[in-house]
Amino acid sequence: MFSFDIIGEDSTAFYMKTKAQQYWRQNLIYLALLLAIWFVVSYGAGILLVDWLDQFRLGGFKLGFWFAQQGSIYVFVILIFVYVYLMNRLDKKFEFDEV
């Protein structure tokens, strides 16, 4: 019985640890995904590809110019709200949500 208790405690601690690790891994995947988009709209569309994108138009804007002065900022705002949604869902799934 005695040894059983010890195994029980150990496995709870182990379970907690892997749970936190899984949570963290999923968090890193979300971060990689969102930051990739963050990079593409600003450094990609707004800086590195700006001249190439300028051949397309969005109303009165050249597309590259629009990304550099308008579009990237809209995407930044959306990215944070998507992150909030994903993380709140993840918190609930792993029962890390605060009470």
Binding site: L31, G59, G60, K62, V77, I80, Y83, M87, F96
Partner: protein, 567 residues
Amino acid sequence: MDIQGWTFLIVGLSFALYLGIAYMARAASTGDFYIAGGKVSPLANGMATAADWMSAASFISMAGLISFMGRDGSVYLMGWTGGYVLLALLLAPYLRKFGKFTVPDFVGDRYYSRTARIVAVICAVFISFTYVAGQMRGVGIVFSRFLNVGIETGVIIGMVIVFFYAVLGGMKGITYTQVAQYCVLIFAYLVPAIFISMLMTGNVIPQLGFGGTLADGSGQYLLERLDGLSTEMGFDPYTDGSKSTIDVFFITAALMVGTAGLPHVIVRFFTVPKVKDARISAGYALLFIAILYTTAPAVAGFARANLLETVDNAPYADVPEWFTSWENTGLIEFNDIDGDGNINYTPDESTNELVIDPDIMVLANPEIAQLPNWVIGLVAAGGLAAALSTAAGLLLVISTSVARDLIRRTFVPDITQQRELLFARVAAGGAVIVAGYFGINPPGFVAQTVAFAFGLAAASFFPVILLGIFSKRMNKEGAICGMIAGIVFTAAYIIYFAFMFPELNNSENWLFGISPEGIGTLGMVINLVTAITVSRFTKEPPLEIREMVETIRVPRDLEKGSGRGDG
């Protein structure tokens, strides 16, 4: 009522509002003073962060700078908004979970080192002072332009107001006045922008009017007209850039990373109750900031088109009234070199007859659009709100660094809370006086110091906090070496080009073609590489530190429940 009367009335009312709020939100404990008791709602924190962040430079100068830089102005637009994505995803939630009061707190605890804490305190104080001097100057300038008082009197009035609510209310007072200041400044920015957009493009929304057709019946797009006028007068087309791609890349990155590393912004995320509040309030903050930051390039485009059309070979005798009235303030200067009575505005310095201060693009908007006098008063109140809110946030960082990080956590650990609060108030008061002094006697290098502040924040705080959260292996040796390498490299580069050899400051001499404004990005990379390398060859951090990193990575501790340490 005339412009002066309206300005006095609106500015006076807004000041009364701030003081009233500050009186209601007095701080009773160090927790109130440093982090508003940790009870600020995420929406309020979002507004307060937006006001904290948007300074006199964002409100008054940015649109004007963009209108002269054209597409290159996007370094400011992307740089000063994109940092919030980094802040929200990489720093804010974890720092909130850490649950102390300041950035040096985190650096000192995570790296179990007094040296690291002191280096962090020095960076925080230096960054905040360079920044705050510009804000006090901004207050003085707004007063002198709109109310005809001397810049010095203006700075002193600003000092008295900030003194009252920062010293009395601490973070609690600052937070709720910043909420009010955000409302004042965004309203003051949008009203003239919307009117100008309607006037020029017939579109109520400036962001859409910017890409719309002109209202003069020509059916031409605004930006096409702007490109056409610019090339006709010898300038580069507005929608083209003239900076090199690598420089634009590095400046944008330095401003983004610097934004995420500025202590007065980071500390705002300590004031909300929960980790998920920290995440969402970063979203609100960026949303509120984006309202101004997407309007600014539109204002820049309208103002530039309007200016070029007004002055394009126009007889000086026929200029509109606003032109003459701003000439009186010295913000527009006309010098008829060829004596033909026409304005000749060109990029060629030897024949150019017109010098325009970029600030005019926002300040003169209400007059250009022939808006009623109260709108001009509103713009003055908005500029003051922007400058005061940023100044207050910075002063709080300075006072907290001195009272908490230096006195309590470094030298007098057994100090009572009441005495610590007293020290915090005295430090805030002292910081107001020093900032006011620099506002009245500005050092001649204010422009460079902003690059300095961002470069240092990028090269010091951002990497060290990032590694503290995302690498359990990072130890004190790595962090301290990284910070020092990043700061020394960045500071040396900026000092070399901005102060020692300004005549060499051009792209031929720059390292890889990176200007001093963008060098913080390289400083950050150096910091990261140094820190990681050194940490691999030195002892790994103690077990309790690795456990602490594990706790800040999850929003709730399942065993213990989440609680804020008393510090």
